[in-house]
């Protein structure tokens, strides 16, 4: 448990000549479920993309399982923001999930029946088996997000990065996704999730990374997710959020 499987050192990145991330240092242990929380423009998505080599870094190093990204990528799964793709693309749900296997299938080969079956199982796990042959534009936002989750599951990675998987989804999808995330954690997988809803952070994540262009605080939720730290992360705009939080009733698990 104690060996960090992700080590980020002195990472910085810019977006259109503005430095959005600077001096990022943190480590993530295996089996943790971390919420990345911060205000709009804090660089949450950019952080994920920079860690995953999808966005150029200016400085710093990132090591997965003690290895550079290139050597560890087979063990890493990425769920982009739902809005990052064109849902009018001519394909169906099963096909999108099968795409998660393209890396394993390799060049010059077609997905076999076995691959399709695995994709179907992943869809089934997300409660989407009935929609396997549905054109993806005919799925609701929540269903599209489940397809994305199924695609990540089929990759069978050890370490998952998810960009706002709970944004704009219905309550049933939110429950389904959180069940899967907790299952992943239970079988020893590590998950980092960009999250926008402060109300649910304490229920959903055992670790929190408070981000606003740099890491404000990172650690176990019960220690880190305090009013003071949240206010530091969000600057002055936190008053009403803090008040709301005081009245919120949390279920005890």
């Amino acid at each position: 448990m104690a060996t960090p499987i992700l080590q980020v050192e002195n990472l910085s990145a810019s977006y259109r000549k503005n430095t959005v991330l600077h001096d990022i240092n943190f480590e993530v242990n295996a089996g943790s479920l971390t919420g990345i929380v911060g205000p709009n423009g804090a660089g949450k998505s950019t952080l994920l993309k920079t860690i995953l080599n999808l966005h150029p870094s200016l400085t710093g190093s990132v090591k997965f399982f003690g290895l550079p990204f290139i050597k560890a990528k087979k063990r890493i799964g990425y769920v982009p923001q739902r809005g990052s793709v064109d849902w009018d693309f001519p394909t169906d749900a099963l096909d999108v999930v099968t795409m998660g296997l393209y890396g394993q299938i390799g060049w010059l080969r077609r997905p076999s029946r076995l691959h399709k079956e695995r994709a179907y199982e992943a869809l089934d796990k997300m409660g989407m088996a009935d929609y396997a042959n549905r054109q993806i534009s005919q799925l609701s936002g929540g269903q599209q997000q489940r397809v994305f989750l199924a695609r990540a599951l089929v990759q069978d990675a050890d370490f998952y990065f998810m960009d706002e998987p709970l944004a704009g989804v219905d309550a049933a999808t939110e429950r389904a996704i959180m069940t899967i995330l907790k299952e992943l954690k239970a079988i020893g997988k590590t998950v980092m999730v960009v999250h926008h809803d402060l109300q649910t952070v304490e229920d959903y994540f055992d670790h929190v990374l408070l981000l606003n262009r740099t890491v404000i605080k990172h650690g176990r939720t019960e220690q880190i997710f305090t009013r003071e730290n949240i206010a530091n992360t969000y600057g002055g705009n936190m008053r009403w959020m803090g008040e709301e939080k005081r009245h919120a009733v949390h279920s005890i698990e």
Partner: protein, 290 residues
């Protein structure tokens, strides 16, 4: 074969190649790159001509590929320096095209290569330039070139079918799976370039854009399956090309112009009558709610 048969066959090959490659132009949202590349391959062709001093298929193909990929590279480079993507495209292709035009006017202008021909193509001249190939026998050079290019693009599309699909749909996932997204982008631009070069003689730089984009945009309206979209788009290309020839023969006008016009008709029909996304079906059956 008769002149007419050669012309129709050549036109159909243009329609087929452009139709197939156009599908990915539409899906990758790079339709206007076709416009840019169709103009800049002129520079590649001219430079190939200056170096080899002959209008040869292979030299033109290589020149065209280099010019096309160079265009894609310059656009990307300007964009990375914070020039807007569409502006970068507009700057790059007009500049390179202008250099091509100047070179034609100053150093290579002759019967084989002139600006009018480059822009509009002249498919009626194609049967005048026959070569003899083993097995096939006598065949117009442009037609042979198109056959070769069609084989090349079909090979690449079929061999890397799933890679084209994933890099078009979700480049971020593709990259995270280790698929070389940028290399695929330039390979694709290379394929667009060879298609354009091969179609150049027949339809010219402007009309080739119609052949690349419109059949694919029409096919997009009819189907939700990528493989079927490829077949449909290729067929629309062939139908438009053949129909264009007969329209031109009927009202005695430019063949390439009529072919482009026919693609427009196919699109109009698709736009109105397509059962999935057409105007009428949307009226009759409002979008199903989930």
């Amino acid at each position: 074969m008769t002149y007419t048969a050669w012309i129709i066959l050549t036109a159909a090959l243009v329609g087929l190649s452009c139709g197939v490659i156009g599908v990915f132009l539409i899906l990758r949202k790079t339709a206007m790159m076709a416009d840019a590349i169709s103009h800049t391959v002129l520079l590649g062709i001219v430079i190939a001509y200056i170096i080899t001093r002959e209008v040869s298929g292979t030299a033109m193909l290589i020149g065209g590929i280099l010019a096309g990929v160079f265009t894609a590279f310059l656009v990307q480079w300007l964009h990375s320096l914070r020039v807007q993507h569409d502006a970068a495209m507009g700057i790059v292709f007009t500049t390179l095209f202008a250099i091509g035009v100047i070179l034609i006017a100053t150093s290579v202008g002759n019967a084989h290569l002139d600006v009018q021909h480059a822009l509009m193509g002249e498919i009626t001249f194609i049967p005048f330039h026959m070569i003899t190939l083993p097995i096939i026998g006598a065949i117009p050079e442009a037609t042979a070139l198109l056959l070769l290019v069609l084989a090349v693009i079909l090979f690449f599309i079929i061999a890397f079918y799933k890679e084209w699909k994933i890099t078009s749909f979700d480049p971020a996932l593709a990259a995270s799976l280790g698929i070389p997204v940028i290399l695929m982008h330039y390979l694709f631009m290379g394929l667009v370039s060879v298609t354009t070069v091969a179609s150049f003689d027949a339809v010219g730089a402007i009309m080739v854009v119609a052949m690349l984009i419109t059949p694919a945009a029409s096919a997009y309206l009819w189907t939700d399956k990528l493989s079927f979209m490829l077949v449909l788009s290729g067929s629309f290309g062939v139908v438009s090309a053949v129909a264009g020839y007969y329209i031109a023969a009927w009202i005695d006008t430019s063949i390439s112009g009529s072919m482009a016009f026919a693609t427009g008709l196919v699109f109009m029909i698709s736009f109105i009558f397509s059962p999935k996304h057409g105007l009428i079906s949307r009226r009759v059956r409002p979008a199903e709610t989930m």
